[in-house]
Amino acid sequence: MFDLSPITMSEKNRFDIASIRARLSGEKGSEYWKSLDELAETEEFNEFLHREFPREASVWDDALSRRGFLKIMGASLALAGLSGCVKQPEEKIVPYVKQPEILVPGKPLSFATAFIMGGYATGVLATSHMGRPTRIEGNPDHPASLGATDVFATASILSLYDPDRSQVVTNKRAISTWDKFFAQLQTAIEVQRALKGSGLRILTETVTSPTLAHQMNTLLTQFPNARWHQYEPLHEDNAFEGAKLVFGMPLQTRHRFDRADIVVSLDSDFIAQGPGHIRSARDFANRRRVQGSHAEMNRLYVAECMPSVTGSMADHRLRAPSSHIENIARGLAAGLHVEGVHAAQIGEPEQRWVDAALKDLLAHRGKSIVVAGPQQSPIVHAAVHAMNNALGNTGETVLYTDPVEASPMNHGDSLQSLLHDLDSGEVDLLIMLGANPSYSAPADLKINEKLGKARLSVHLGAYNDETADACDWHIPQSHYLEAWSDARAFDGTATIMQPLIAPLYNSKSAHELIGGILDDSGRKSHEIVQDFWKTQRGGGHGFENFWKTSLNNGVVEGTSFPVKQPALRQPSDGWKFSSPAGDGLEISFRPDSTIFDGRFANNGWLQECPKPVTKLTWDNAAFISPATAQRYHLESNDLVELAANGRTVKAPVCIQPGHADSAVTLHLGYGRKKAGHLGTGIGANANLLRTAGSQWHAAGAEMRKTGESYTLAITQDHHSMEGRAIVRAANVEEFEKEPSFAKEMSEVPTASQSLYPPKEYPGYAWGMTIDLNACTGCNACVVACQSENNIPIVGKDQVSRGREMQWIRVDRYYKNDLDDPEIYNQPVACQHCENAPCELVCPVAATTHDSEGLNVMTYNRCVGTRYCSNNCPYKVRRFNFLQYSDVDTETLKMMYNPDVTVRNRGVMEKCTFCVQRISHARIEAKKEDREIRDGEVTTACQSACPAQAIVFGNINDATSNVAQRKADPRNYALLSELNTKPRLSYLAKLSNPNPALEKPEKPG
């Protein structure tokens, strides 16, 4: 009757730890490693470290045993406990802008550094409370951020404190030490020195770090026969190959969406993915921002298979299998008279879309952009370059620079040649820096068999993952907040990355490992990085200044790459377009929008963040169109077997309106074998179906119904607005005819109709507006809020029961045609109603209004009747049905924002308009004896938003940004007919369709 197993099990687990602690009592932090060695012999310790966690994994699905599960997480942290208290790095780190550099207890400082994904840097400001990094926000001075972040950057703070991070050096899966490793490495290196490194191979991910590049080059001069391979699962190969075709060299393409009136995207999700996507989102949104009653907007055409963030913003979205994109590109290129390109036969709707786009493009020469997605073939990229050239966009809206990658190479080929060398037994010493190819490489490369063939293989990684398993040695890699480094942004701008905290575990950075090989092992990454920049900027006093300002601003002045004017030429062997796969089923592989290529698989915030458009959490799925579902007699949650390239994968079906027919989209990053408690064994591994030959889509695939079914945890089950005026939208024409159309879509009760006189709010009156025309639904606000407000994750089981906890959610609605709907996004947080229905019904007055119009929760007064949530028409309240907050795991305690209460079981919670930030600003203002300035308080969601759709401030101050937006004709309150008088209001969405196309028809 009582399913107690998980809890009792975790108790046992705790007991293990207790005994280990006991052994360690009296040991000093400094003797940490020695003591671990001693421990390594003890049997329960080995048992503890090498447990494969099968039971715990199953525990995760059980609603009730979350506490047990958390205890286990806590347990796996015992080692962290050993390494003693939090230390800031010994070296001097420089806080952002003009903050007191001395640490004022309790006062957070923020430091500029950079978050790296796919090799490219996004400048961030990391907040540090008493030496504990607690929060990641955008760096306004950094070109790739301009103050905004994305889900990945924000959530990277959780990865720092992830109790599943690898914590010890292992040798053949057994605990070892850095010294033992280093001794063995030395001998191996000595051998290589003699051989000029002919047996030495180094595999990295994309490297933009000038320092690391310098180290690698030194290494290659010391070991001329050694090879540097790179493999980034989501690389830019095709883009570079495309550039090679028409420019003869790999070039980085930079888009100035802020200058483009017409944007045509061929399967490119430039708003949400790829280098500089945050910047692209900002630039794009700036061209859709409408003030007053006149609309001056860009127009977006998107052709894609699976509805993406970019696709949901499109004025004209064409759904087409990704193999059809090539013909569409062809049509466009031919229409633009690109020399040697002839249009291919395409369907009628495609043709209409192409024609309309062409007309617009030709009407906006030099003010338009054609952009192709990284998953499209080189020829498409080449054609796109040619088109932009033909339109005179080159140099205007489309800029070319040298590749930002330190050593541009075709990652696919590079990996294959490495594997070839491994096969032929040429590799004596293989060193992998950060990469996890065992998981992410296409299956047909059979990488795991081959890795074994290296005489000595070393893996430096943040997790003890699949690759670590396949290697002789695994070295824990330092988190970017733990080690000095540097990296370049999409435009080449370099950032010197400063750590905020000394490594939690005894981890190393890539610099230190390579340094070890270069035989300056004594040096820490700080020295290595600093020395490199000295070589760049010369030492002396000038350098001190340079160093300080660079750290302070988070950017190194004058490092962005100069724009080139490459000469366009015909592809050497002509325009070789391939013809589409035909009518067969094709599978396209795309990076997951929250866990990317799988590197964030163990990040709870990202796993639980409802993926844009699909609202799916904790899983990937085989997305198919309604028509395809009918053809195969499938429904959502049916488990199907996908077969391609002679391999099969089982995945649950999810029917996705707007998806192209006879195509399946399967996202990468799931089906991990060794990712940690959260990421292991969930979802389907798309890599099994990929081949080195065609990495991004598999033609001639098959889909078989297995008869089994599988529950997907989707946070929004209902997709229609039921004809209610929820997201209020119009096209430009209608808008200019009737600018305040949104207001007229519902009647608002007047004051005279209300029984009671309205309350007065003198002084500050906090309010917010969300511009639905700018919002892309990218989720940056959701994760930012989760991080700022210590919002717990609840796990798949609880999400599928409808108990997710995020305070702000992005609602998604479809309109019209089921097969090809219009897609609307609407972020919904607590509306802070002046006539709050929730407050009235709370028996203990736990939720009330403050003098500035905030609807505030008194957590410690709440008894948990849930009446407030029932009576909330916006359903923005969240209830702790179980003990969701992790109050056991030591490192997670370090991560919590000390300004926000951690809520426990049985308590209701909701958006507070970041009241802690308001009071912080109030204190500052009081100290200087002034009013709080407009823009001085930014909520977490607002500061994260790349599109600047969210504006917060004092609505009593008519000059404030928010007050002006509320005066905008598009301003409307959600469910205003209920007379709740929300403080959060929306600016209606506008679309800018091409009059020539009423709405994109369904293909076929």
Binding site: M1, F2, A63, L64, Q716, D717, H718, H719, S720, M721, E722, G723, R724, I726, Q798, R801, G802, R803, R809, D811, R812, Y813, Q826, V828, P837, E839, L840, V841, C842, P843, V844, A845, R861, C862, V863, G864, T865, R866, Y867, S869, N870, N871, P873, Y874, K875, R877, R878, F879, N880, F881, L882, Q883, R905, G906, V907, M908, L974, L975, L978
Partner: protein
């Protein structure tokens, strides 16, 4: 008392069945009713019932333990469905209680003498039903151990409850109701305790009943005050019982949800309450009557009256459903009409259909005297009505919540085994208490039955009882 007969025939008013079997005397009434308690061995049927219900009580204990150990999450509730079985059961139990008060108070004021045979039992039922109901508002809290915060007591922070919240009104209404029902019941028992005391043979029985009787000796002066007090209580209980379920209905009608926010709720809840209450009285009394062979006091005529009350209140409830439908259509409010369509055709449509069958159709059978007289059928109908009324509350609570204003947050509610466990558990507690009461206390008001015996110079014109 041989002349009882002659007196009876002499009093000679005609009616299908007397309220008390003609062969009863003052002595026989006492001996029978109190004898059942004092002399008799526990009947086997009852032992079985007690056994079964004790099992249920174990289930209750388990459910409560698991709930307190883990939190509300063990139930199926979620956002948007923040209330489900908990509040459904609360309203259902409270409703059942209402029949008791109605019988003992309102019928007393209306001089419906037939109630004398069943009021004691009905009052006990009220008491236990309200006790069960009271459990749910407490257990449904996220932090039940802080339930006392709903009471206005001076505390260190000097914070008070929010008296605008219907939940606080509930606290006052339910506690008042519990207290008054208890006093009403106990006061009614005092004279009977006295007669138990006087016929009890065993010392411990004499002692315990003696203490409960507080030395009652039937003095006329006492009877005079007693009657006044009893009448006053009845007069107070009557508006109270109406207010209690009105307040309960405010929990919903004060909310802004379509399906909750309705002015029809108070009257329609009160009618529903009495409806379900009478159904429950029948469900319990028909077996009890058999077990204890009380046909002499609880005659078929009583059952017939109760059936009629069920029919009447059932019709009011039906009217409630109809008016809901009508307003959904007539108000022209999109949310209202959607709610109603969703109630009928939505995922919980089956529940709505069932409740229409149970509460709308079934009671119509009671138009027929044959059915009213057929004890078995009557029993079955009363059970069906109980189910129906539970479904009604479920439909109101859950279907209104699961699809409200923003489609994005629509959801579903699926009960877990712990939802069921707690519900079944309270059923067990309730039946157990009822049978324990029957075992140790006079289940029929002795003195009020005697009151019904006619004698020269006094006629109880029971034929005046409303048909």
């Amino acid at each position: 008392m041989a002349d009882q007969h002659s007196q009876h025939s002499h009093s000679g008013f005609e009616m299908p069945e007397p309220l008390v079997a003609p062969d009863q005397t003052y002595a026989s009434i006492t001996d029978k009713i109190s004898g059942d308690v004092i002399g008799k061995k526990t009947p086997r049927g009852m032992l079985i019932t007690l056994g079964v219900t004790s099992m249920f009580i174990l289930v209750f204990v388990a459910s409560v333990y698991w709930l307190l150990a883990n939190g509300i999450g063990v139930w199926g509730e979620n956002i948007p469905v923040g209330w489900a079985f908990d509040i459904t059961n609360f309203v259902w139990w409270i409703g059942i209680g209402h029949a008791g008060t109605l019988i003992s108070a309102i019928l007393l004021l209306l001089h419906q003498h037939w109630r004398n045979a069943i009021n004691r039992f009905a009052e006990a039922m009220t008491l236990f039903a309200v006790a069960c109901a009271g459990l749910f508002p407490l257990l449904h809290l996220g932090r039940p151990w802080l339930g006392y915060w709903l009471v206005p007591y001076p505390n260190t922070m000097w914070v008070w409850p929010n008296f605008r919240s219907p939940l606080i009104w509930d606290v006052f209404a339910v506690t008042t109701y519990l207290t008054v029902s208890f006093m009403f019941w106990f006061v009614g028992l005092i004279p009977d305790f006295a007669s138990m005391r006087d016929i009890a043979k065993k010392k411990w029985q004499k002692v315990s009943y003696g203490i409960l009787a507080m030395g009652w000796r039937g003095s006329s002066r006492h009877w005079h005050r007693y009657e006044t007090a009893y009448l006053l209580l009845a007069g107070l209980a009557t508006p109270l019982v109406v207010s209690v379920h009105s307040v309960v209905s405010f929990d919903f009608s004060v909310g802004i949800l379509p399906g909750w926010h309705a002015t029809i709720f108070p009257p329609y809840f009160v009618a529903g309450a009495i409806y379900s209450g009478f159904a429950m009285v029948l469900t319990l009394m028909i077996p009890a009557r058999k077990m204890y062979k009380l046909e002499a006091f609880i005659t078929n005529r009583h059952l017939d009256y109760m059936a009629k009350v069920m029919l009447a209140t059932g019709l009011i409830v039906l009217y409630g459903y109809m008016s809901e439908l009508f307003f959904a259509y007539y108000s022209g409010n999109g949310y209202e009409s959607f709610m109603m369509m969703n109630r009928i055709t939505g995922p919980y449509g089956w529940a709505y259909a069932c409740l229409l069958f149970c509460n709308g159709f079934t009671p119509q059978l009671l138009w027929f005297k044959k059915i009213r007289q057929n004890i078995l059928v009557l029993f079955i109908i009363s059970v069906i009505v109980n189910v129906g009324m539970w479904l009604e509350r479920f439909v109101i609570v859950v279907t209104s919540l699961h699809r409200d204003f923003l489609p994005s947050s629509w959801g579903m509610f699926y009960p877990t085994k712990w939802d069921w466990g707690l519900y079944i558990g309270t059923l067990g507690i309730f039946v157990w208490l009822i049978y324990m009461f029957v075992r140790v206390m006079p289940m029929i008001s002795i003195f009020e039955i005697k009151h019904l015996l006619p004698w020269r110079g006094r006629r109880i014109d029971t034929s005046a009882d409303a048909e």
